[in-house]
Symmetry: C2
Subunit: 466 residues, 2 copies
């Protein structure tokens, strides 16, 4: 891909377009943070960072970039894990984290209209005041909603409530050529031509820049109860999950965790976890509108677990106790990161009855390759988060072992009819695994779709299928 | 578009490919049914009909058509309303209604794998034996699941459970060039490249031929209760709906209906409706796992309705009574059709708090244009079904009035931030209204997407954005 060499003149033109030089960073003003995301396994500095605060600004910058053939990489909070927000070809980073206003709560249509930079934790707190609920709940609450839409983030509650895609009703977006486009709206159904809305959800900033989103809300469940269920072995714990699904009990979340992750989180948060005496745990939540309704749902599940070898069932029905458990669960990524020098991750999703097989497979791999591999994840929806730890490996050895571990794990996922990414996306880091997993025709179609939106290939180039 | 002139030689080659001449219809063997769909407003006879019974056959036929530049139009039960299954450019109709096997129920992953020709009524009956539930519930139960996927059918329960799209996890499809492609699978989450699955859902047979679908099931709610609520006026009835939504009570379905539609259904089914003394009704369903849970949900709603001028609240808690109401509701389309000589429909969706305004608007239009306009629909999700009746109008006058009525209604929907189609799709009949509603850029992107799948434009040409 051949792009214009970015010159000081371009910087000046961009400042002119914004009319505000404080929001255009150039050269040494640019923090190293803009070269990377949360995992930082790939790093490239942009030539310029534009902190846009309106759709019009995004549109003006895109038009300029399009006319001048300059690559643009959209960026939110930078909490991604696959390098999707890294400006591989330099050029402009479009930082939309300052577009962070909640624009409208519509209680008659149960929608919330937001700018893309609103943080997930602010969004959910805001709607809960009105007894409303935005269910998607990834561990990373400081991510922006724009980022969540771009990766189709899932999170803990996907088992019952689905993923981000299911809660996006409408989008305002800026096309690579600067045109502003409105898709969907407050409508509940839509069969009016090809589904551009869902195509954009999960497209990791490669098709459009999202400047506004209309989200679906649902009534806030009045009560939630969590069950922490210790098992003697992880295999035993995870193999109980298909039985729970089969029992038709509809839990909100089903997570699995091992003592190692729990201890890391205790250390990281300096807070004790309610129990760390067992090797493995399932953590379940049930929500509903009355205590009886929830009790009916979880009693059966508790019995299934006990019949399958659970050592106990700890019920957390106060907000405080649930907070203690779930804040630990939310801190797993950071806690594991703190255990080592560097790490990379695998975010595969497999059919729910294959989770145990996959996790056991990673344990064998850990021994075989002699690297530490830690995992936790969404047993209820088959999405695993597996971390390969560098520890004190040399650069060469790390790259070699990491690549080998990745190759083997993605291959295994593929054999189990799984997919490369459950919710973190492909970005830059997972491209080769996507290419391995999909047929040539599928890759060709994805490239054709990219071309339909972005004929000059200036928006976040080098990502996903490219 | 220039296609090969279909010759007897092509027919012979196709018979050879299938090895079974009984399943290839040619010339006078082809029933007139294959030229049209349920509404029949557009009719073109195909040159040949292929009754495929396997993915391999579909693939072989597509490859032949691709190599020889022959248009192919996929067809299920032919219950569509917008001409999507009509072979506008002649060529081959690929009838997949014989691919009608239920292939696998996976209780551990809560999925059902089916061929595209399985009828909706068979599918839902099948899974209910296992206490499982496939929620999408359009009025037309004799439609195929392939057709439902192709239009992203919604139906009555979309308020609580969403639409067909939400229940498709994986697809096996045949590309226009004959390649077989697998998308998604039994996985619950997926962020692995562009969302081809959702792009194909709702694409009305223009991108691929669907040969297999993996559907998501949920636990069957143990109980359902319907409320039939009479009002003095339709406006009053519909204006109550945003208050119900705002009350966060989560009904399964919220339909509105008028006496005229009820009387037509009584006449059509030769069965009395429980009540026909009022001008307008809301029909609500609530489902759940216990009587108390459902009662808690509907009591508040019943009070809201009474406070808003409802004349009464009839509760139907037996299957028999519910069947009497819902079978009438399901027969509305056929019943209205039987009232007149010919009709056409508008399937717009508007934000839920604009339904009353839109329906009142059609009443004014009825008087202004002096044509009969009948409506019913999904008040709970904003999707309206509005029928313009020809009665004894001359061909010229009918075309003129119909076109005028359509133009005005779609324009109104657009002004209310609605969309052209809520669930019936665009097909051939609604193209001009889609072009009016979407920006040039959106149409251009849709055409680019079509090209990415079908560079020779042989699959169902002349539909949606073409």
């Amino acid at each position: 891909m051949e792009y214009k060499v970015f010159e000081i003149e371009d910087y000046r033109n961009i400042v002119k377009l914004l009319g505000d030089s404080d929001r255009v960073l150039y050269g040494e003003e640019i923090s190293e943070d803009y070269s990377r995301d949360e995992l930082g396994s790939v790093r490239v500095m942009p030539k310029v960072v534009v902190k846009a605060i309106s759709t019009e600004e995004v549109s003006n910058i895109m038009r300029y970039a399009y006319e001048n053939n300059i690559p643009v990489t959209p960026r939110g909070a930078g909490t991604g894990l696959v390098g999707a927000a890294v400006p591989i070809y330099g050029g402009i980073v479009m930082d939309v984290s300052g577009m962070n206003k909640i624009l409208e709560l519509d209680e008659e249509n149960l929608t919330l209209t937001v700018e893309p930079g609103v943080l997930l934790m602010e969004l959910s707190k805001y709607v809960e005041q009105f007894d409303l609920f935005y269910p998607p709940d990834p561990g990373e609450k400081t991510a922006t909603i724009g980022g969540n839409i771009s990766t189709n983030a899932g999170g803990m509650r996907a088992v019952k409530y689905g993923v981000t895609r299911d809660y996006v009703r409408g989008l305002e977006v800026v096309l690579p050529n600067g045109e502003i486009m409105n898709i969907g709206g407050k409508v509940v159904k839509n069969s009016s031509g090809y589904d551009l809305k869902d195509l954009i959800v999960g497209s990791e900033g490669t098709l459009v820049v999202i400047t506004k989103a209309i989200l679906k809300l649902i009534p806030l469940p009045k009560k939630a109860i969590s069950l922490l269920i210790p098992f003697n072995s992880l295999e035993n714990a995870i193999e109980t999950v298909p039985k729970i699904i089969k029992s038709k009990s509809a839990p909100t979340a089903v997570e699995f965790m091992q003592r190692a992750a729990i201890e890391a989180a205790e250390e990281f948060l300096k807070k004790p976890f309610p129990d760390n005496t067992s090797d493995a745990y399932l953590l379940l939540t049930f929500d509903g509108n009355s205590k009886e309704e929830i009790e009916r749902a979880y009693e059966g599940v508790a019995n299934i677990c006990l019949d399958s070898g659970a050592l106990d069932v700890f019920i957390s029905d106060t907000e405080e106790r649930q907070e203690a458990i779930w804040s630990a669960r939310g801190a797993f990524l950071e806690a594991i990161k703190a255990l080592t020098t560097e790490m990379d991750e695998v975010d595969v999703v497999v059919p729910r009855n294959k989770v145990a097989e996959f996790v056991m497979f990673t344990h064998t791999l850990e021994e075989k390759l002699n690297v530490r591999i830690k995992s936790f994840g969404h047993a209820g929806d088959g999405n695993l988060h597996i971390y390969i730890l560098r520890d004190d490996l040399s650069e060469d050895m790390w790259k070699k072992k990491l690549s080998e571990a990745m190759e083997i794990m993605y291959d295994k996922a593929n054999k189990l009819n799984g997919q490369v990414s459950g919710e973190h996306g492909i970005g830059y880091a997972k491209k080769r695994y996507l290419f391995n997993a999909l047929s040539e025709e599928m890759i060709a179609i994805m490239r054709g779709i990219k071309l339909a939106f972005d004929p000059k290939n200036i928006l976040n180039p080098g990502k996903i299928a490219q």
